[in-house]
């Protein structure tokens, strides 16, 4: 990756394995909300056959089916780049299958525990039922994000260890365990809100940007805010 030190470096991890539910949306919205504020960005796509660069600012991991998930976890563990970046303090935003594999362990399709990348203190397994549908959750007030909405489609259940904190409290939907949704530890943040979680929750996108560049200029409300409000109203109707 060319090192233009002023640009915000957004690294999309393994779009060939982990990009099942419109995960590209998170990449596009981060880039757009940064650029609207005059923050230059540099976007790096890392395929599963490529090494993970260590000097990124925000690493994005998407969702995937069972097999691609296992492949992605194995390759990321063997590569080591993502763990080194996280140890350096980089921001990691992971959804669904990506969320599970950044933890200490996750379950395969027969509930056998498999080792994760271990950059956040969570452990995931398989639940009895599949969680499918609109989800609403209130984010930890310490993060200043408010209420988030999204779509979940997973069979995972996630337990949060002492090093990490729950991202949010579930208002509707299942999330980690019917009570909480997602987790964060430093700037590593994961959620079951799959696919375009950041387009649907512009304030969550801004949290990640704030972590990297500090205070942000407000943007005038646009379609992202309208979609957020519309989905929230629809989910709670």
């Amino acid at each position: 990756m060319s090192n233009t030190s002023s640009a915000l470096r957004i690294v999309w991890i393994y779009p060939d394995l982990l990009s099942t539910y419109g995960d590209q949306g998170n990449v596009l919205i981060l880039k757009r909300r940064a650029e609207l504020r005059g923050i230059p960005t540099e976007l790096v796509h890392v395929h599963s056959s490529d090494p993970v660069p260590e000097q990124g600012d925000i690493y994005l991991l998407g969702g995937g089916e069972d097999r691609p998930q296992i492949l992605a976890a194995d390759r990321l563990r063997a590569d080591g780049g993502l763990a080194r970046a996280a140890a350096r303090g980089a921001c990691v935003f992971a959804v669904c299958a990506g969320y599970q594999i950044i933890g200490e362990s996750y379950g395969d399709d027969e509930s056998n525990p498999l080792p994760g990348i271990g950059i956040i203190d969570i452990r995931s397994g398989r639940g009895q039922t599949r969680a499918v549908g609109e989800i609403v959750a209130d984010v930890d007030p310490a993060l200043g994000v408010g209420r988030i909405t999204g779509f979940e489609n997973h069979q995972g259940r996630t337990a949060i260890g002492p090093q990490a904190r729950a991202l949010s409290t579930t208002v509707k939907g299942i999330g980690n365990d019917d009570h909480t949704e997602g987790a964060y530890q430093g700037q590593v943040l994961g959620t079951y809100l799959h696919g375009p979680a950041l387009p649907r929750n512009p304030q969550l996108a801004d949290l990640l940007l704030r972590w990297r560049v500090g205070q942000l200029n407000p943007l005038p409300p646009s379609w992202g805010e309208r979609l957020h409000d519309e989905r929230l109203a629809a989910a709670l109707r």
Partner: protein
């Protein structure tokens, strides 16, 4: 075909009565209810109805209904064909299709991807026709890697001859499970679901499209004996003969469907040149690709239900001066999850006037805003036409791309055009 046992005959008659009732009362086209009633009376009915026929099962994520229609059109060369032309593609629909046409020796059944293994087992078809697999309605559909694996296993236990697209790695891997296959190079525009090897998970090498191979396990694209050349609108037959396609259905996706149909018809003994003549008679399929003229404007309806389908639809849009209406709903038949809108690249629409409609137009609006595509929102097609005519009184054409229920709503507004 052979005479049905008494119980199966009764089941079949009862099913057809239920179907007639459904049609007479305007509740549906009867395909589903008829089959459901019949199955209650004779659970083995599908197997019994299939006996003694030469059936082709057609499955894919996109193009099932169209390809089924094309193959049926070709096979009518020999007379009646039993087929589920209205797209009722689960066993109940298959029973209705076969009951409705007991004397037809040849049959073509569109089969839902999930049901293919089961229907394959029940019907013992002569041919299984497979075109593509890509992400689709993931809130209720199976994961496609899993689906391909189930296809592969079912095909390995069957005597059916596979006719499949060699250019789609997931489909090819499933088809390679069958004892016999004819491979068609039918192309693959949407590749985002097949970067990883279906056999071992390695990152596929696919620099020289349509070839692909896995550098890790050696799985490679099977050698195709039929090929489509989109640039020249040509079908290359196994004997090397080059045939102009000249379909009346638009786009590369329909060239692929036609090529697959020609390869299948050849399996039944029809010369491809004759097949193509017959396929050119098809101008729309259950309202897809049809045009309605309203307020003096030709409105063309394109159904596209998932990212691969939208990508194909963008490729058949008329030149940039023709405006396009995009309509998206998220009802159960559409999938309740609109995340897939983010998988599609909309930047190709930047040069034309774009309208967004449907229950999830706000999702579309944000998506287009993010890709820098100017757009307007609207409630109905005639409202769009009114606005367009006010600005350009001489406007003659508009394209509509809609997902399933949005498409049906628009189609119904114009009298369920075929």
């Amino acid at each position: 075909m052979s005479e049905l046992p008494l119980r199966a005959q009764l089941a079949s008659v009862l099913g057809r009565s239920a179907a007639s009732l459904s049609r007479a009362t305007g509740r549906g086209d009867g395909s589903v209810i008829g089959g459901r009633v019949a199955l209650k009376v004779e659970p083995d009915l599908l197997a019994k109805l299939a006996q003694g026929r030469r059936l082709a099962l057609v499955s894919a994520t996109n193009g099932k209904t169209t390809t089924t229609r094309l193959i049926a059109q070709a096979l009518r060369e020999f007379g009646d064909v039993a087929t589920n032309e209205y797209g009722a593609n689960m066993p109940t629909g298959h029973i209705t299709a076969l009951s409705d046409n007991k004397s037809a020796v040849n049959g073509v059944l569109e089969v839902d991807e999930k049901y293919l293994p089961q229907v394959l087992l029940a019907t013992n078809p002569s041919f299984v026709v497979l075109m593509n697999l890509s992400r689709d309605q993931m809130d209720r559909a199976s994961e496609i890697n899993l689906l391909a694996k189930k296809w592969r296993t079912a095909l390995s236990q069957s005597n059916a001859h596979v006719i499949a697209n060699a250019d789609d790695p997931l489909v090819a891997w499933a088809g390679l499970g069958a004892p016999n296959a004819t491979w068609v190079s039918a192309g693959q525009r949407w590749k985002e679901d097949s970067w990883c090897c279906p056999e071992c998970g390695g990152h596929l090498k696919r620099e020289t499209d349509p070839y692909w191979e896995c550098p890790e396990c050696g799985l490679a694209r099977p050698r195709a004996t039929w090929a489509v050349d989109n640039a020249t609108d040509t079908l290359v037959a196994p004997d090397g003969q080059q045939l102009k396609l000249r379909m009346n259905l638009p786009g590369d996706a329909n060239r692929a469907n036609a090529a697959i149909a020609a390869a299948t018809a050849a399996g039944y003994g029809i010369h491809p040149e004759r097949t193509l003549e017959r396929l050119r008679e098809v101008t729309s399929v259950a309202g897809r690709y049809t045009s309605v003229v309203t307020m003096g404007v030709e409105v063309r309806l394109l159904l596209a239900k998932n990212p691969a389908g939208w990508l194909e639809s963008f490729a058949v849009l008329d030149p940039p001066r023709v405006p396009v209406i995009l309509a998206v709903n998220a009802q159960i038949p559409d999938g309740k999850d609109t995340s897939w809108l983010w998988d599609v690249d909309y930047t190709v629409l930047r040069d034309r006037r774009v309208f967004v409609m449907g229950e999830r137009r706000t999702d579309l609006a944000l998506r287009l805003e993010t890709d820098g595509v100017p757009f307007e929102t609207a409630d109905r097609v005639d409202e769009v036409l009114g606005r367009l005519k006010a600005d350009h009184p001489d406007i003659t054409k508009v394209d509509v791309i809609a997902n399933y229920t949005a498409f049906q709503q628009i189609r119904t507004a114009y009298g369920r055009v075929q």
